[in-house]
Amino acid sequence: MSGPVAPGTDPYAALRARWHAAWPDALAAWGRFTRLHAPSLHGPGEAPEGVGSFAWFSTTRVSVHVDLADVVARGIEDHAVAVLAHEVGHHVLSPGDLTTSALLVARTRAGLVDLDHLAPLTANLWSDLLINDRLQRRAGLDLAGLWRALGPPTSLVMQAVLRADEILWGLGRGELTAGALPVAEREAALVARLVRAYADDPVGGAAGFASLLRTLLASDAERATAGLDALRGAVCGQDEVPGSVPGGLATDPRAVAPVRHPALDPRVVGGLGLDDDAESEDDATGGADAADAGGQSLAPADYDATLRLLGLTTDAASSARRWYREHAAPLLVPFPVREQPRATEPLLGAHETWDVGDDLAEVDWTGSLLRSSVVVPGYTTVRRTVDDDAGDEPDRVPVDLDLYLDSSGSMPDPGRRVAPIALAGAVLALSALRAGARVQATTWSGPDQVAGTDGFTRDEDRVLDAVVAHFGGSTSFPRPLLERTHLGDPATGAPPTRTRPCHVAVISDDGVVSMFDDAVRVGWARRETTELVAPHESVAARAVVAAGGGGTLVLDTGEAVADRVREIAVGYRVHAVSTQDDLVAFARAFARELWGADDAAPALPEGARRAR
């Protein structure tokens, strides 16, 4: 199957044929309608590095893999149906898809408290247990025979897990477990109950399973590497495509449900009639890893850690981008669209830069290649503009967005904690991009700490990068950039870089006053030597008038500070946002002010209304 093998030279040909012949039976163990493409049976040296087991699966590729060389080495050639049906189970029962897989890792990570690196292993061990029990008891496959062939366990965790299997399958003591190793009898008894209680809810039981085995895992980890390696060899591997996105993970409330020890879980021990059931019902510990803001979803840092453990990312910024994109999605607001007279006759216009994020079909390849023989998307690519003759019918032109994000030390780091203010920025930017507008996003902190898209773009990743960036320095608004964008460069006399009507939005806290420090002298604001201008003549006020799309200040402050800012921020709407609820209110207000009170209601996303 995998790797080119010359005919007649494959020492595993017969074995390969036998295992392929077992595939239909393996699928049939999960029902008549289960379909999956044939397994990849690897020969010696063909297995990828770091999988660590003789069999592994991939939810992103939806494939089953077996290392035949390892199978021969372990002497389990005759258990093809059991092994293959088990791997099919990873696609049918647990985890099934990448999001569930990530949820399992997030849950086991929470349950393990401080053994992060063992979370994926524990998650797969839990899935293995559920699958094996189902196959042994319901499909009538001989998983116990497979374990006997694999030999007695050498790690404490496997010893407990196999003891649980003995209990579950009505086997005598020592049939699967090793006589030489101590058995964690009580843990095994609870694991057995846990498996039955959560047979059809892998995510629900994962955290309890991890918290139950935590001490055993820790002692295995302490026994040099022998214990853990033995454990890895006995648990299915997982091999996902880096960069895949587990959709819905960032907003799934199951990821941060309180970790409950199985002995305190009514679903596990409820049937035993313990006197203190009622107490344990309320005994939600929450603690360990609950996210900060409201505890309704994973914090960005936990989200990043989960993706890293699954090998899906190595970049905290990209995790943060995904987190804010997912959270902003249900809050997107209708972005202003200007109606202009429509042309009756299209006229071919000049070339303009085709940017990443624009429709690929719009690239004028001839024009691009004439400009440069090397195509660099967003730089040398051009598209043909079509100018319009003024007509009678209105045309809708989206209003661009000029977004300034404060990342001074007083703002929370969006990459670590849930930052409602950064979420507000993501909502604005993504709403604008969805409406077809271009966005210039700029992150600012101290005098020389300015980063961003440097110009208007439609590249969502670059915009979100600016939203989640964090300097953590002092506070000094980049007024020269605002001036260059909307009023033109006073030094060179260059025209404004903005080409269409534009909305100016600033995400900040009380440090926003540095934006108006040519009109007011507040606290640490500089320019004490220069003369102040009237508020309506400040650069910020003139810029918002020139921009022609209005302005919004979104501030992480109380209402009192917001009121003070309203007095000096001529031409800007000021919103105070410090919690998720405020954010929804902001989204409503933003939509209402731009669309009128009555039009806003139906345009609001369903989730926003519910959240109120």
């Binding site: 005598g172 609870l190 109950r193 305190l264 009639g273």
Partner: protein, 206 residues
């Protein structure tokens, strides 16, 4: 059922019928037996007569009969007592010499007056009959009360399996683990509080 009844070293038991036979007989329990309208006391008396053999009539009498009557008046006990009678009446089981030697009228009275209330405190008769794990527990409990163990099992294996299926044993394990888990949580909470206090103190020093 208290685990300590047969706890510690494995009690001396005699190999009886195979467990599967007992479990199957339980699974075959007709709904009529579970019907609260069935006069369970009469069923127990009839079964005792059957076990006594030789056309005996009215072998349960005196205080035993009074106690059986008293228990059978309670609906949950009656259904389980009926199930136990259904089990020991099985001709196939009684064909096993060890079983027929153990299943005497006094043993039946013992089952009804001692085991039935214990079983009733854990599950309803329907649950005992319909849940697979419960069936095994009930079968082992009845065999154990008769001083038998399933055929093909050593006393140690029988004791081990009993511990694995016994609700009382599971309850004990769950209690112990719950106690430990609560203690661990308490420690974790105190540690987190301490860390938070230290962090706050450090912050306040700036």
């Amino acid at each position: 059922m208290r685990a300590d009844r047969r706890g510690g070293t494995a009690p001396t038991t005699v190999a009886g019928p195979p467990l599967a036979d007992v479990v199957r007989r339980l699974a075959d329990t007709p709904p009529d037996v579970l019907d609260p309208a069935v006069p369970a006391a009469a069923l127990v008396a009839d079964t005792a007569d059957l076990l006594a053999g030789a056309g005996a009539v009215g072998v349960v009498r005196g205080p035993d009969r009074a106690e059986v009557d008293r228990l059978a008046a309670v609906a949950p006990y009656a259904a389980i007592a009926g199930t136990v009678c259904w089990l020991v009446r099985d001709a196939h089981l009684r064909a096993d010499p060890a079983f027929s030697a153990a299943a005497t009228p006094p043993a039946l009275v013992h089952l009804v007056t001692r085991l039935v209330p214990e079983l009733a405190s854990l599950r309803t008769a329907t649950a005992w009959v319909h849940e697979p794990t419960a069936r095994e527990e009930a079968a082992r409990a009845v065999l154990g009360a008769l001083g038998l163990r399933p055929a093909g099992e050593t006393p140690e294996v029988a004791q081990d399996r009993w511990a694995a299926v016994s609700t009382a044993e599971q309850r004990r394990v769950a209690r112990e683990m719950a106690e430990e888990a609560r203690r661990a949580e308490q420690l974790a909470r105190e540690l987190a509080d301490k860390r938070a206090r230290e962090a706050a103190a450090q912050y306040a020093n700036y």
